[in-house]
């Protein structure tokens, strides 16, 4: 009598197949994920890339301005790769304008691809962002805010999946010793970017910038941490080339620092 009960508890095959089909359909409707093109990242991401209809959060590793700049470039590079098709626009909303557009152009986000808007407060920025997401005519939306609670992030996540537009929420540091990613959020992925020393060149000069890229949290996946070379002029990241002779490189750096 036990055996028949257990078989009746097991869900029958037909509804299960229907559920699976529904799930794959929902996944297809959510839009394709944008891969980074680096196997080390894509392999560890649940979607094998960044979901094109969801909220992603990015923050600097520390409250310093250089980490801030690195995180900005990381967001700009992702936006540039979302907006590769000609004529598509990225919307960048923020409260305090200190971006320098020539620098953004050098990661592939040219002036004809970005539309900026400056709001007076975080709430104005979030309202604009939600409008832009629901409109669905943009390639990507970036918003810089200092504070966004879980309700705000949930609204953004819903708007992003409704409008099928990727959303990058850039969280600025408010209190110097507290990470802005420590609060609750509905984001699909949460990234923390910081600067690390670049590889020394054989001649004097600054090499390609290098970042520490930390995926702090992702849905359906595990966090990880990597060191990556910064965005090139198309917004693509790269794995650092393995140093052939670490001892001699260190000696070069020491001689240059002098």
């Amino acid at each position: 009598m036990v055996c028949p009960a257990s078989t009746s508890n097991r869900p029958p095959a037909a509804p299960l197949a229907a559920l699976l089909a529904e799930l794959t359909q929902a996944r297809a409707a959510r839009g394709p994920a944008l891969p980074f093109g680096i196997d080390a990242i894509d392999r560890r991401l649940a979607d094998h890339g960044l979901d094109g209809a969801a909220l992603h959060e990015i923050a600097a590793a520390s409250a310093t301005l250089s980490d801030d700049a690195a995180a900005t470039l990381f967001a700009a590079g992702i936006a540039a790769r979302f907006a590769t098709q000609p004529g598509f626009t990225v919307f960048w909303a923020l409260t305090r304008f200190d971006l320098y557009a020539p620098g953004l152009e050098q990661v592939g986000l040219g002036p004809d691809k970005v539309l900026y808007a400056q709001g007076t407060s975080d709430s104005a920025v979030l309202a604009m962002t939600e409008d832009a997401l629901r409109d669905g005519s943009l390639a990507c939306v970036i918003a810089e805010v200092k504070s966004a609670d879980q309700t705000a992030t949930r609204r953004l996540q819903l708007a992003a999946s409704d409008g099928k537009t990727p959303m990058l929420l850039y969280r600025r540091h408010r209190v110097s010793d507290r990470c802005p990613l420590s609060g609750l959020s509905s984001a699909m992925t949460r990234w923390r970017i910081g600067c690390v020393p670049s590889a020394r060149l054989p001649h004097p000069g600054v090499g390609r910038a290098r970042w520490s890229v930390k995926l702090v949290r992702q849905r359906n996946g595990n966090p990880f941490s990597l060191e990556l070379d910064a965005c090139d002029d198309q917004g693509r990241l790269a794995l650092p080339a393995p140093a052939p002779d670490r001892a001699s490189a260190a000696a070069g750096a020491a001689s240059q620092a002098a």
Binding site: T64, Y100, P102, P111, V114, G119, I193, V206
Partner: protein
């Protein structure tokens, strides 16, 4: 009188310019009376056709001196010394006439238009009694022109042709012609008064025809054969035998829709309903005229006589009712209905031409980028009075001046590919404790915002010169920019004032300006 010396240098007159303290005359002699001081300087306007300069107009003083329109300018200059010669500007004259015609349409008569390039026709039928009769209207018009700085002569006649002739050739400021006497009144005027072709005037002069009266007894068929059919038509038009309608100028009226309400309203739903009706009315008007609006102005008249205003602007000309309703709906909360709104008006003060547009075939394969103009309007509504913008390059090497805001639908230009930071400080911040090798090396260490940085690598210098045409202080100023990396991996954009060699280029102080990630 010429001093011995180089012929290329003009020598000063030896007795003319002695300063007063060296024995020269301290009191200037009174200027001798000239034409200029007595009557004002004569002035003429000229036009150039190829090498030839012709007088097109002369002021009263010049006319008294014997200068006439149609003279060669060289002749006029020879006749009168001290002549003020200026270029004629027919386009500006035409613009004045058009403005005057619009004013006439608004104030005097609905039918008015410029006639040739120096006059205006007003159809005064049934309007002069509003101004106290024809004579009073003419005096009033002349005074109006006088206030504007114009002189004029007016003729009121039964036909436009006769009025044209009398106003220009009767020699009186005001001519009022009783009806039915046109033929007699213009009989003594010269033939040019009839607006004839130059060719016809030449032929008429050859036949010895000088006055309009000379044409009356002539048989019509030979007249048309000799002087052209146009001449006969002009003559008939002036005598009133053939009609000559005046094509009036039509002033532009901003499209407007209005709703007067039976009962005062105060709820948001009611206001939304009225706005929807107004937008529907306005869209029909715009569609008839082939226009799209760039700005709309909503006025709500409150029961107590005050008014509430709401304005919207659009990034591109539109007459999409849904979009307009949504944009006005976003601003309903700013309307304070008070005791109730009794009338609402929607006006489009700024419109642009908007013709029918082809629809995209909805096959789902088009890769045309989506239109973001409605979104821009919506975003602008969130951050009024600010608006979304793009950044475009501006021709300047100084980094903070190389970026300029342009409007959201403009086509911006890119920048050169020099390495530039992604975030810039609002203004450069002074670095302290800088250790650097002059003139061409990045610093080895520096202190910024209270922390010390050791530099491990640097690129530079990139020399940027000041823009002397903006400020005199930038005449010699030089900034040497370096891109440096500190031990912790921070990458900075710093600059030094001065090139390290010449002192006027700067004081060799170091500044932080931006951050590379």
């Amino acid at each position: 009188m010429r001093e011995m010396g180089r012929r290329s240098e003009s020598a000063e007159h030896p007795f003319k310019a002695i300063p007063a303290d060296e024995g020269g005359a301290s009191i200037q002699p009174a200027p001798a009376p000239t034409w200029k001081t007595l009557w004002g300087q004569p002035m003429i306007l000229i036009t150039r056709t190829g090498q030839r300069e012709m007088v097109t107009a002369a002021c009263p003083v010049a006319l008294e001196l014997g200068l006439r329109p149609g003279m060669a300018a060289a002749h006029a200059r020879a006749l009168v010394t001290d002549l003020d010669v200026r270029d004629a500007d027919p386009d500006a004259d035409r613009a004045w006439l058009d403005r005057l015609a619009l004013h006439a349409v608004g104030h005097w008569t609905p039918t008015a238009c410029p006639s040739s390039n120096d006059g205006m026709w007003l159809d005064l039928t049934g309007t002069t009694h509003l101004f106290g009769g024809e004579a009073r209207f003419c005096r009033r018009l002349l005074r109006f022109l006088e206030r504007l700085g114009f002189t004029g002569s007016i003729a009121i006649a039964g036909t436009p042709g006769a009025a044209h002739a009398l106003a220009r050739y009767s020699g009186e400021a005001i001519t009022l012609l009783p009806p039915g006497t046109e033929t007699k009144a213009i009989a003594d005027l010269p033939l040019t008064a009839l607006r004839l072709e130059p060719q016809a005037l030449l032929s008429a002069a050859r036949f010895g025809l000088e006055r309009i009266a000379d044409l009356y007894p002539m048989p019509r068929a030979p007249l048309a054969r000799r002087l052209g059919l146009a001449t006969v038509r002009r003559l008939d038009q002036a005598r009133g035998l053939v009609a000559e309608p005046i094509a009036p100028v039509v002033p532009f009226e901003a499209p407007r829709a209005e709703r007067r309400l039976l009962e005062p309203i105060g709820t948001a739903e009611a206001i939304t309903q009225v706005i929807g009706d107004l937008v529907d009315d306005l869209v029909v008007l715009l569609q008839e005229r082939g226009m799209g609006l760039r700005a709309a102005h909503l006025t709500c008249v409150i029961v107590d006589g005050t008014e509430q205003h709401v304005a919207i602007g659009t990034a591109r000309a539109t007459r999409d009712a849904r979009h307009l309703k949504r944009m006005l709906g976003m601003r309903i909360e700013r309307i304070d209905p008070g005791p109730g709104i009794e009338a609402m008006m929607l006006v489009a003060p700024r419109v642009e031409e908007l013709r029918a547009q082809t629809l995209e075939a909805g096959l789902g394969t088009s890769d045309r980028p989506p239109d973001i103009a409605p979104l821009i309007d919506q975003l602008a509504g969130r951050i009024e009075p600010d608006a979304p913008f793009r950044l475009s390059s501006h021709e300047s090497d100084v980094p903070e001046r190389a970026v300029r805001r342009v409007e959201a639908l403009a086509k911006p230009l890119g920048w050169p590919t020099w390495k530039r930071p992604v975030r810039m400080l609002r203004r450069p911040e002074l670095l302290s404790h800088v250790v650097a090798l002059l003139p061409d090396h990045p610093p080895r260490r520096f202190t910024w915002r209270g922390s010390d940085y050791r530099v491990v690598a640097g690129d530079g210098p990139e020399r940027i010169h000041g823009e002397w045409w903006r400020k005199p202080q930038e005449m010699w100023a030089v900034r040497d920019y370096f891109r440096v990396e500190a031990t912790g991996g921070e990458r900075f954009w710093i600059f030094r004032r001065g090139d390290g060699v010449d002192a006027p280029t700067g004081d060799l102080s170091w500044y932080m300006h931006g951050l590379f990630g």
